[in-house]
């Protein structure tokens, strides 16, 4: 069984969550808890370079967090999604909703 691993680091004023492994129907609650906790600390960047799959449940969590960020004036970004994570985001038909960046220095 491949486990989801989430590590957190600070990059200046930003909290970067590095997601490694599958964000699927079994692991998304852990992802949700860590993301919601990080959102309480300030600007959040979700580094998805090491995501091995991304299900609709995980995307539903990201979309909810984006809603919350917009409502509160906070910032949430997605950094360098893996090929499968990008495909998953694109497959929703809502790609324009996701603030995706390839490098931290590209973030506004």
């Amino acid at each position: 069984m491949t486990q989801l691993d989430i590590s957190e680091r600070n990059e200046g004023s930003r909290v970067v969550l590095l997601i490694s492994g599958p964000v699927n129907s079994y692991t998304f609650t852990e992802f949700q808890q860590r993301l919601e906790r990080a959102m309480g600390k300030g600007e959040v960047v979700i580094d998805m370079e090491k995501v091995t799959t991304l299900s609709s449940a995980g995307i539903g969590v990201i979309m909810a967090a984006l809603d919350d960020a917009e409502a509160s004036g906070a910032k949430l970004s997605i950094l360098r999604p893996s090929e499968i994570a990008r495909l998953a985001l694109e497959s929703t038909g809502f790609m324009e909703r996701f603030p995706v960046f390839q490098n931290l220095k590209d973030l506004p």
Binding site: N24, T52, S55, S56, I59, A64, I84, S91, T92
Partner: protein, 168 residues
């Protein structure tokens, strides 16, 4: 239109006449993979934690390209999750999952028996994404995603078997 034969019976258009080796998979997951040159089959318990076994199964298929594997993994996960959530009870708790290439088309088949599948199949495509306040997340995107990364997605309820067939 190419169609799958009953689960467990070799389709008549198969190029090979002899089955390949049977691979007994890890007892931890309790599944077995039967391989032919362009077909892989998995019997899997339809429970939430078995999503990892399905992902491992897709990763193990050696006749698909990387971009096909990504689509198989995403689409398969969504269908499996839907079966867990919306097609209970499934007879014997098991589904047969098959990935095959026929005449250039890649198929992903889920076959099982469930008394609740016909009702679900009749209404599942009516869903639009909706926010679930209790779960604090958006729901209802899985089938939309699956359709967007495949060439067709069909649900067929039957007297012997219920099937979900994805074509790529």
């Amino acid at each position: 239109m190419t169609e799958f034969g009953p689960v467990g019976i070799a389709p008549t258009d198969r190029a090979e006449t002899e089955p390949g080796p049977t691979v007994s998979a890890s007892g931890e997951f309790g599944y077995a993979i039967r391989r032919r040159s362009a077909e892989a089959t998995l019997k899997i318990s339809v429970t939430r934690e078995k999503i990892f076994a399905l992902e491992d199964f897709v990763d193990s298929i050696d006749f698909v390209a990387a971009n096909e594997r990504a689509r198989l993994k995403l689409a398969g996960s969504e269908i499996f999750d839907n079966l867990v959530k919306h097609s209970s009870p499934i007879e014997g708790g098991l589904a047969t999952v098959r990935v095959a290439r026929r005449r250039g088309t890649l198929f992903f088949l889920f076959a099982f028996r469930s008394p609740s599948f016909a009702a679900y199949a009749a209404r599942c495509f009516d869903y639009e994404p909706v926010f679930d306040h209790h779960a604090r997340r958006w729901h209802g995107m899985g089938l939309r995603m699956t359709r967007n990364i495949s060439s067709s997605l069909s649900f067929r309820s039957g007297t012997l078997l219920d099937r979900v067939i994805i074509r790529f």
